[in-house]
Subunit: 232 residues, 2 copies
DNA sequence: CGGTATATTGAGTGTCTTCAATCTCAGTGG
DNA sequence: CCACTGAGATTGAAGACACTCAATATACCG
């Protein structure tokens, strides 16, 4: 049997991940202690409020990371794709998960137990540093989003999100956004009602800035979208 | 001359700070390399977009940390008070500051050069870990605020902010909030227009939930405020 | 006692939400 | 092959919420 893909050394995501600067020896060690699992769309990796025993490194597929409001409405905070890790916040702080991680596109994901994470942080200061940098980057993104969501209109934020989706997940051969989200999910990123997203998408379509075909979205005029998202 | 207060060992904020679990030897080392400065209300420690050469540890006073929108409107992200450090994100990631730090109440602040921070992260994994935990905590708060600002009404967020201000900064002998903010600043936390804050404060006053006396605010009915901020 | 900054109030307006109805489309079973 | 079903998408109408702009009041500072 071919277990090649199970080895961290050969992991297709390793070059994008914080594990990329670990030596062969360390990767070997992770190999011995991690487990790899396949997940289907809709599967929950962990749920807000629950304790988790390690963190997750995405090998393939996409996760959405969200918080749930008291009325049950979800607010999508971020996505995780190849090379991203998630759950480390709860591991490092030894606290219950503060977000829910749900599979958006079928995924192959490695689970790395807490004690492994801790031991690497302790013995490898470069690893600790790059983990900090990941956290800092997320923190900066979160702070920017607070500003945007507080100051921008829904139309501006929607434009911003569309650009982000193209940047982060790319487009297919015909130029349509690769990632496939429902209107409800889109609204849960933008932070608005589903109907508002639908109306504004329809506006953008009429302005020939985007194009829609069976729920898929194509950005026709990136510059104009940028102008909308940054009206100054 | 009495330089006692200049020594980290005797720093009144050290017990609250991430430096609290450093040994006497390490604190001595920081002493040799830090500088301590006094700042006045309105002073800017660092400005969004600028490079900074180290991070700042608050010994006394209060800072507001904010981002500036393209139209110039500021969005307050957090505060820093005794024991808090700020600027470490830019130091660790070696990037320009992504926020502005401005003195809200006259402050005494230690400056710790980048290389000191790096050397401690490298040689003291517990320090690295507690720095990570600080970052993670901030990240969690930021994510929560994204959810709130996206899903809650201004009234709900205002109630939440008032409770936060009492929790974080306490109240004076007569029960008024210790921290003194202009209506504009309050609106820049809540993420709304100044006039909206004024109107909603006035509503809360009429409902006997808060009391106002010459711009100072006193929370009369904490429970009711909690209900408002968490209507479910 | 000006003069400036901040706070307050009012009126008008626009954005966005809510609710309800309808439509589309893919999958399913007869 | 087609009707049936359910999930998601769309549209319309009504109204709430919050913003802007302008005018006024109050407080603070030298």
């Amino acid at each position: 049997m071919d277990e090649g893909i199970h080895y961290c050394k050969g992991c297709s995501s390793s070059k994008n991940s914080i594990f990329s600067n670990l030596g062969a020896e360390d990767l070997e060690y992770i190999d011995q202690n991690k487990s790899i699992n396949l997940y289907k769309k809709g599967d929950i990796l962990y749920r807000e409020g629950n304790r988790i025993l390690g963190c997750y490194c995405v090998n393939s597929g996409i996760l959405k990371i969200y918080k749930t409001g008291l009325d049950g409405k979800e607010q999508i905070i971020s996505f995780a794709q190849k090379g991203d890790i998630t759950g480390y916040r709860s591991v490092l702080s030894n606290e219950p998960a503060c977000t829910t991680a749900e599979v958006l596109e079928d995924a192959s994901i490695c689970f790395i137990p807490s004690n492994i994470m801790f031991s690497f942080v302790k013995k490898n200061s470069d690893f600790a540093l790059s983990l900090m940098q990941v956290t800092c980057k997320e923190l900066n993104q979160a702070n920017s989003y607070i500003k945007d969501i507080a100051q921008k209109t829904v139309r501006e934020r929607l434009a911003e999100v569309l650009l982000m989706l193209e940047d982060n997940f790319g487009k297919d051969a015909e130029g349509f956004l690769t990632i496939s989200l429902t209107r409800a999910e889109l609204s849960n990123i933008v932070g608005t009602a589903t109907e508002s997203v639908i109306r504004l998408l329809s506006d953008l379509k009429n302005e020939n800035i985007i194009l829609m075909s069976s729920k898929k979205i194509k950005i026709l005029n990136k510059n104009e979208l940028k102008k909308i998202s940054n009206p100054f």
